[in-house]
């Protein structure tokens, strides 16, 4: 699907990270690998510390609410100005009702405010932006609150060296509004459902309810232990997919736009790990400092929240005071890959806070 909008802009962005920090070395002894091998992995992938909720009882909803409270308390968002709430997550509060409706209820939003939950992962920020732009084309919708939130750390086995070192938790709130300025927003979203199970949590849905049996740990061919309740990732397939499809998509969008690699100030990508991001930068011919890859080492990979995290962490003050031409790209679960090129800046707020 092509993305092509004008007269819309992002006016604020807030990331919420757990205050609880876990170092790679703290958990290294859980993996069935020698210390030397684990430290080699740490260097290659860029693992250092991650931010995960201290208690499994803290949910995506709680992280999002911390963000809303901050915005309301600091008068950065006015309740009555909200026309729609999007909640994009793979860790909803309940199977029913939608988590966005719970947010609506908690803040006693007006009945005219429309709520929508979307189940999306690594590309969740791109999907959310695209949905927000579409909503803004409807009468009476002038401000959309996009909430990306995921607490997946409880869904990852502590004995899985494939996933545990990189997973982080986070929430983000992005405000998208109509504007009289003639803005240009271009991009594309593509999907390949035949790769849908490349990243999955087998048990816990309708197909495979959680039982004592699904909770038993099994060992894979590399010595990682996880249960069917845990997230499992086919790293090889994900790597090949990202390295092939993402540069192809971005090059095509650039070809069809007035932009070049040089005219983009920053490439703000989903953050799977430093290794994959540096490879992507090299493939695109982008200098590595224009494609920040420092989220996993500081916070972990929080799925659809990583694009707001990489943006607020690296460019917070700059985006409050100036404008830039950026390329957002998210890729992963689904398989889904999406890219949006747009100007962003002079934001009402662009901050990262801890809960």
């Amino acid at each position: 699907m092509k993305i092509n909008f004008s007269n819309k802009k992002i006016t604020g962005m807030l990331s919420v990270l757990p205050s609880n920090e876990v170092m790679f070395e703290d958990e290294m002894h859980n993996y069935s690998f020698s210390e030397a091998k684990s430290l080699k992995l740490k260097t290659a992938m860029g693992f250092k510390s991650k931010r995960i909720v201290a208690e499994d009882t803290t949910t995506s909803f709680d992280m999002a609410v911390a963000g809303f409270d901050y915005l309301f308390d600091n008068n950065l968002l006015v309740k009555n100005s909200i026309d729609a709430v999007l909640f994009i997550s793979q860790s909803p509060e309940y199977i029913m009702p939608p988590t966005s409706n719970l947010i609506h209820g908690k803040y006693e939003l007006d009945e005219r405010v429309v709520c929508l939950d979307i189940n999306q992962g690594c590309a969740g920020f791109i999907i959310g932006l695209q949905q927000a732009f579409m909503l803004l084309d409807n009468d009476g919708i002038n401000k959309v609150v996009l909430c990306n939130a995921d607490v997946l750390s409880p869904k990852v086995s502590k004995f899985d060296r494939n996933s545990n070192p990189l997973i982080g938790d986070a929430a983000a709130i992005t405000i998208i509004e109509n504007t009289s300025e003639n803005t240009s927003i271009v991009g594309e979203i593509r999907m390949n459902g035949s790769g849908a199970m490349a990243l999955n949590v087998p048990a816990g849905g309708a197909r495979m309810p959680i039982t004592a049996e699904t909770s038993e740990l099994y060992e894979d061919s590399f010595g990682n232990k996880r249960s069917k309740n845990h997230l499992v990732m086919q790293g090889d397939n994900v790597f090949n997919f990202v390295q092939t499809k993402v540069p192809e998509q971005i090059n095509k969008i650039l070809e069809n736009s007035n932009d070049t690699v040089e005219s983009i100030d920053y490439f703000l990508f989903h953050q799977p790990n430093r290794f994959m991001l540096q490879k992507l930068a090299d493939k695109l011919g982008v200098s590595r400092d224009k494609l920040p890859s420092n989220v996993v080492e500081n916070f972990g990979n929080s799925s659809g929240v990583t694009i707001p995290v990489v943006t607020t962490f690296n460019l917070g003050e700059q985006l409050e005071n100036s404008e830039m031409n950026v390329c957002f790209s998210g890729f992963g679960v689904g398989l889904t890959w999406g890219t949006i090129i747009m100007k962003i800046g002079n934001l009402d707020f662009c901050k990262l806070i801890y809960k």
Binding site: F33, K37, K40, L41, A44, R161, N162, S221, F222, N224, Q234, G235, D236, N237, F239, N240, Q243, T244, F275, K279
Partner: protein
């Protein structure tokens, strides 16, 4: 083949490798070396490999043949 042997020696962290060496026989062999091989194939040979294909290739020579056959496909 010479280049490939050098590249494999670097990934396996040894001075040199023989075509007949079994992939799993190296001390360094783990999921990270597999990923390094996948990245090497993508960077230098423009082919996509999976973990299963690498395991099936068994030896350094087998891996080289696999990459060549994919390049010619």
């Amino acid at each position: 083949m010479e280049d490939f042997l050098e590249q494999m020696a670097e990934i396996m962290e040894v001075d040199n490798v023989n075509p007949s060496d079994e992939l799993t026989s190296f001390e360094a062999w783990d999921s990270l070396t597999t990923l390094s091989i996948i990245a090497l194939a993508d960077d230098d040979y423009q082919v996509s490999l999976t973990n299963a294909e690498i395991a099936d290739a068994k030896t350094i020579e087998g891996l080289h043949q696999l990459i060549l056959s994919k390049q010619n496909a």
